[in-house]
């Protein structure tokens, strides 16, 4: 049954990501870990905006992006709900985006001269601790 999910997000002022981006990332993460499940109802734009102390337009933009990406779907008059998992990206596009992400990460490891093996360990640990679902 559709339920309003109890929902905890925080926006960090020290984060270089935009507020909308932080919201998007947080919701994607919660869906991927199963903390939010298919058909769960999301808080209203105004409600979440008030809870986070941000501009409603910002929340609205984040919801719009998640909807466009297929993570959420709108049911007219009822609100936004977690959508069924479906892969939007084809193989090439997914590989290209991962490749960019890998390059970015490697660049930072190089920039701070972090030991490569330890860096890989950190990534592996972070991903394992999430217990992701729905991965292709």
């Amino acid at each position: 049954m559709p339920q309003v999910a109890p929902f905890i997000i925080t926006v960090a002022t020290g984060d270089s990501r935009s507020i909308a981006r932080q919201i998007v990332d947080a919701i994607r993460l919660r869906i991927s870990t199963g903390e939010l499940r298919v058909d769960d109802k999301l808080p209203s734009v105004r409600g979440l905006a008030q809870q986070l102390g941000v501009n409603p337009n910002t929340v609205s933009k984040a919801y719009a992006q998640l909807t466009a990406e297929g993570w959420l779907c709108a049911r007219a008059g009822l609100g936004l709900f977690v959508a069924e998992a479906r892969d939007q990206l084809n193989g090439h596009e997914r590989e290209r985006r991962l490749s960019l992400a890998v390059d970015r990460f490697v660049s930072e490891v190089v920039a701070i001269r972090y030991p490569p093996e330890a860096a890989v360990e950190k990534v592996a640990g972070a991903l394992e601790s999430l217990n992701l679902r729905n991965s292709a």
Copy 2:
């Protein structure tokens, strides 16, 4: 003897990183892999700008950042040269920056529903293939 390094950089429009940032990352990478060695001379600001088809100020900005980070040093009137490697950051800062990088990478893996184990493999492969030197 100082040598002018043969030098191949390309700037990709599909990359979300700024042009200056791409230049910075590319040069740091070449220094870290040993492709550029201490006392090697870098291409002139104007020369590299022309080669890449970008504004000299953009290259200058990238060079300035690398100099501030201790990767390069300027010799007045002669040009820029690869400096001796030295770590500037303390342990806490290094861990903090790696942590941010890990979070960013994980966010992207989640966003594109990439299989976590495969993602870790890609990172490990990318780092190993570099044969980095001078990592603490």
Copy 3:
């Protein structure tokens, strides 16, 4: 609560430091003395530029450096704020940079034949009068 800090900076033409450098030094000083506090909002790039009669890019460059050094943090669309103090440099680098500063100062004392003891007094007086905080 974030507050817009009342803010007085002047740029001196007789100073050999670049305008951007003067701005950087002045803001670091105000943060270190507690005149600017964590979460205080800084004047906008355009506003400070107009106030000082310099190009906005010059102010932007100064702000960018302070952000890179961890003194400020940007909140997208809102402006720049004083960040929590954090040391980035390790011991060796800090000693190295102080040593360079000492050498530069000594060179100037020698150049103008200033009495050494009096010069030390001036430095001591200047540092004491600041009542610096957060020094390691």
Copy 4:
């Protein structure tokens, strides 16, 4: 009697000062410590340039500055010699230049969050170890 002073200067590539500035500083220091004495003869422009591996124009410029400042004096056809100590700057100008130097030093101490007392100690130690003469 005028003698050619045995003379050891090195130019450091990692130094942010220009080469000419390094030469000027080094010679002023040697005169101030008594390592070079009044009427000592300096190496020729070409000789010093060759010894340092730099452009003769650079040495020439350094010598010219030192002569303008009154540290050296030219004897036609004989070469350059250390001049009698005389103060060129009036009190106000000397105080102004020291003040700028103090500000620069303080700025660096603030920038790297170096403990103020320890910084003063370093300056005092550096100046004492020189055993300066000829100070007004």
